[in-house]
Amino acid sequence: MPVAVATSDTDAQLIERVAGGDRDAFAELYRRFARPVLGMAMRQLGDNGRAEDATQETFAAVWRSARSFRSDRGTGSAWLYAVARHAIIDRARQRREPVAEVVPDEPAAEAGPADEAELSWLTWRVHAALEQLPERERVVLELAYWSGLSQSEIASYLDVPLGTVKTRTRTGLARLAPLLEEVRA
């Protein structure tokens, strides 16, 4: 696969380029969405191998079906989410396991299907937004929110000054703000 080169193209523009056989656009879509797809698959299938299969199938479907995307019907991210959901459900059905009951999205372990779907969509959008950050900011945010490390421990782990950790945290959050402006928890 070609090395993804950061581009200002929207997700929708990338999908349209993929529809024309553009491998670079496909590589960039993969860079942006591989982790959100894999994360969703792992949460819902509960098995790394099958999650990777579902992720592979998702991107195979993207490559095959990009022509079916219509930008006037929704965002590129929403289209990709639907493609991923279908791939994951297909993979779950191969084992006759209802996907919604396999491993509900955390932390809403007792949520109903509607709540689970809502959290799944919310998670997708947040994770997809994270992929748009520069690596140094994304890493700091992920450590800050999900590692259990303190800021000092993150500074030590990354071998950077504490002030740099705070600056990257602040910059990363500020960069996410417009991307998630319309998203509600």
């Binding site: 591989a34 982790r35 592979q56 929110y145 259990g148 959050l173 500020a174």
Partner: protein, 205 residues
């Protein structure tokens, strides 16, 4: 796992209130969702990378050629009388025997080619296999097309049970661009990039 520190501790307390409110919204979202996976396995990236090894497909320029090929194939199969009908209502216009390699001695198979959809150029196929062992949890077989001895495009995946297994698939490739049908096994936790070929057949029918 410990809760993340308070937002003011994360970003410092020297931000104006409106900026802090803007960041608080993002902070709440991050706290509301589970973490993303730590990393994407290189093996997955490699597998996805191979997807684009096949020149796709339905740019308008190629669609006309594909439809013409589909029509030619249909006419050819009909003309030479290769017309078989199997179970489940699948109507095959040709059957290609798969031969077992040394890695799958005792296995056998067939690729049955169905009609092309004139509107899309997609065509159906059915793979029929027997004698392949059931794979461990998470594993599956892959039917794909090879060009010059290398992977060139996936037609689908399947698992096997006892006896004969029949699996329907759909593809949209220009068959003439490929040399062979190949079946390999994908096993979890392994580097499958050089998996042995188990069943194979020429695409020349």
């Amino acid at each position: 796992m410990k809760e993340p520190p308070d937002l003011r501790e994360l970003v410092g307390d020297d931000l104006p209130p409106d900026e802090l409110a803007r960041l608080a919204h993002v902070d709440a979202l991050l706290r509301a969702v589970p973490p993303p996976p730590a990393e994407v396995p290189a093996s997955l990236t490699g597998s996805v990378g191979r997807i684009t090894a096949v020149t796709p497909l339905w740019t308008r320029r190629r669609l006309a050629g594909a439809l013409a090929l589909a029509a030619s194939l249909a006419a050819l199969f009909f003309g030479v009388g290769v017309w078989t009908t199997g179970g489940g209502g699948f109507e095959a216009r040709a059957s290609v025997p798969l031969r077992a390699t040394e890695s799958a001695a005792g296995a056998s198979g067939l690729v049955r080619l169905g009609p092309a959809d004139a509107a899309t150029g997609n065509w159906e196929l059915e793979v029929v296999v027997s004698g392949l062992p059931k794979l461990p949890e998470g594993g599956y077989y892959v039917l794909w097309l090879a060009k010059d001895g290398k992977y060139a495009g996936t037609c689908g995946t399947f698992n096997v049970g006892a006896g004969t297994t029949r699996v329907r698939m759909s593809a949209s490739y220009l068959l003439r661009e490929y040399d062979e049908w190949v079946v390999t096994a994908w096993l979890p936790g392994r580097d499958n990039s050089n998996a042995p070929w188990l069943l194979r057949a020429s695409t020349d029918v």
